[in-house]
């Protein structure tokens, strides 16, 4: 059969498919029947405009913005071409909006406006909320110190003053003795913390007295990375560096999770639920610093802690390195 004849037969069969009838002149050739199977499935294909439009809507919604204004249909045209205008719905909508507009107009027209008596006193606001550290754009919210690749570890000393924003990292050994613009060395932390150094700067946890910025990198004091003080990485603060999940830090994955035991009391009462606890999953995959944040009682909290202590995780990763990550661990107590 020539290709022109097949094209004709195929098109005839497709017309029949749309009309829901089997075209006369059966039987169709095997090739046409095979292609018709594809054609049947293609009838369920989504409209390209719908896919793009929905993607756009989701994008707007994900960005926390209201839906695009041309989403609405109009009585004068087909609106976005995605949703056809439904006359009755439009009429209800128009009537409702007209009534609301009339009600608002009546409110303004009928209510007599009186000038408000305003108090002349002045108020002074006192900020009572505690200091909240501002996360850096890169998501590095943990503290940690750097150093200058010295061969000896960081020396003992006092912490510099804490500020909300760091301009210059602390150093023990100053290399540039005549900076063009001198700035006080600080670390990021609660500004009201009284850590004004009177003596030599350094790592308070170190026992070494030989002046050294430490073996790390990043300009601070310590064995980690960053402009802070300590052994952590990635921040201008202080500490050992505990990361939040996200922004380049992957979540630890549980790899060994023995089931928790049920307490006798809870089993008898047929009590079920979830115990949530805050935990730091170390770079070695061991959970530590466990703290119950949602308790169930009836002895289940203790059982949950006992179970989670024996769990093992694949540690969270940042830039290809295992890091300590804080996360919420949930233990589900379920009776079957």
């Amino acid at each position: 059969m020539s290709s022109v004849a097949i094209c004709e037969e195929l098109d005839f069969a497709i017309d029949g498919m749309f009309a829901d009838v089997t075209p006369a002149g059966q039987p169709q050739s095997k090739e046409v029947r095979n292609l018709l199977n594809i054609a049947v499935a293609l009838r369920e294909m989504p409209r390209h405009e719908f896919k793009s439009r929905l993607g756009l809507e989701l994008g707007w919604r994900a960005a926390g913005r209201p839906l695009a204004p041309n989403n609405a249909t109009s009585v004068f045209q087909q609106g976005s071409r995605l949703y056809p205008v439904q006359g009755r719905s439009f009429a209800y909508s128009a009537a409702f909006h007209s009534a609301m507009a009339a009600a608002i107009f009546l409110c303004f027209a009928l209510v007599k406006v009186q000038p408000l008596m305003q108090s002349a006193s002045e108020h002074t606001a006192t900020m009572l909320q505690p200091y909240i550290a501002v996360p850096l754009a890169s998501g590095r919210v943990s503290g940690g110190g750097g150093g200058d690749h010295s061969k000896s570890p960081a020396s003992h000393g006092e912490l510099p003053r804490m500020t909300a924003q760091q301009i210059s990292p602390p150093v023990v050994q100053i290399e540039n003795l005549k900076p063009r613009l001198a700035a006080e060395p600080t670390v990021v932390g609660p500004p009201d913390t009284s850590t004004i150094a009177k003596n030599q700067l350094g790592d308070p946890l170190s026992k070494l007295m030989l002046p050294s910025n430490g073996t790390g990198i990043g300009g601070g004091i310590g064995s980690g990375e960053g402009g802070g003080v300590g052994s952590g990485r990635g921040g201008p603060g202080i500490g050992t560096g505990i990361f939040h999940i996200g922004n380049g830090v992957s979540a630890p994955r549980p790899i060994f999770t023995p089931e928790p035991e049920y307490s006798d009391e809870a089993r008898q009462a047929k009590f079920q639920g979830i115990v949530s606890m805050w935990a730091v999953i170390g770079s070695d995959g061991h959970p530590r610093s466990l703290r119950i944040v949602r308790s169930l009682g009836m002895g289940l909290d203790e059982k949950a802690l006992e179970a989670v202590r024996s769990w093992r995780f694949e540690p969270g990763m940042k830039d290809g390195h295992a890091v300590a990550v804080e996360m919420i661990v949930e233990v589900d107590f379920h009776l079957f």
Binding site: S3, V4, I6, C7, E8, L10, D11, I14, D15, F18, N34, L35, I38, A39, A41, L42, R43, E44, M45, P46, R47, H48, F50, K51, L54, G55, E57, L58, G59, R61, A62, A63, I245, G246, N247, S250, A251, R253
Partner: protein
């Protein structure tokens, strides 16, 4: 090995979207055809399929933070949302007709192989040459006649029929190559 790599990539995508919802677009692109194919098999008209599909992705976006990776493909979660959305619709439509709801409820099978085939087919259509793709969309989505398409494109009816034939032939051969 590929399946493992795909799963790892999908997990990374989900985690990224959970932290930054604007990254949901990638999950949407990957799973749109699968969800639409699932819904379209279970509703009678295109408008309803679009409504349900939109509902599924909006629900998924809202609840994304609650999704926990347990090694099950993300598509399975979306399909479960779709199944629930369809069940809700059917319940509303057939209030007081429990029998109908139960009957239709049985139709919800998450692993319908035809859904997978259709999703794959829709994906392949997007990779057709532009002129063939246009003819396929006009003919099967808009359900226009060959004469109308020929008039719109400024080509002969014979040429449009040839494009239609070549497109279907290409889709069929590609579908045969896939498992």
């Amino acid at each position: 090995m590929n399946a493992l790599a795909d799963a790892a990539n999908e997990r990374l995508l989900i985690e990224a979207a959970q932290q930054d919802p604007t990254r949901f677009a990638e999950l949407y692109e990957t799973n749109f055809n699968r969800v639409y194919a699932y819904v379209a098999r279970r509703v009678t008209d295109r408008a309803e399929a679009e409504d349900v599909t939109a509902e599924v992705f909006h629900t998924a976006l809202i609840n994304l933070r609650r999704f926990q990776w347990r090694g099950v493909p993300f598509a399975a979660w979306l399909v479960r949302i779709a199944a629930n959305a369809l069940a809700d619709r059917w319940k509303k439509q057939s209030a007081g007709k429990e029998l109908l709801v139960e009957e239709r409820g049985e139709e919800i099978a998450d692993d319908d192989p035809q859904v997978e085939r259709n999703a794959m087919l829709f994906q392949l259509v997007e990779r057709l040459p532009p002129d063939q793709r246009l003819v396929i969309f006009r003919r099967f989505v808009e359900q226009r006649s060959v004469r109308e398409i020929a008039r719109d494109l400024g080509r002969s009816e014979g040429a449009v029929k040839q494009l239609q034939f070549r497109a279907l032939e290409s889709l069929r051969s590609q579908m045969k190559e896939r498992p």
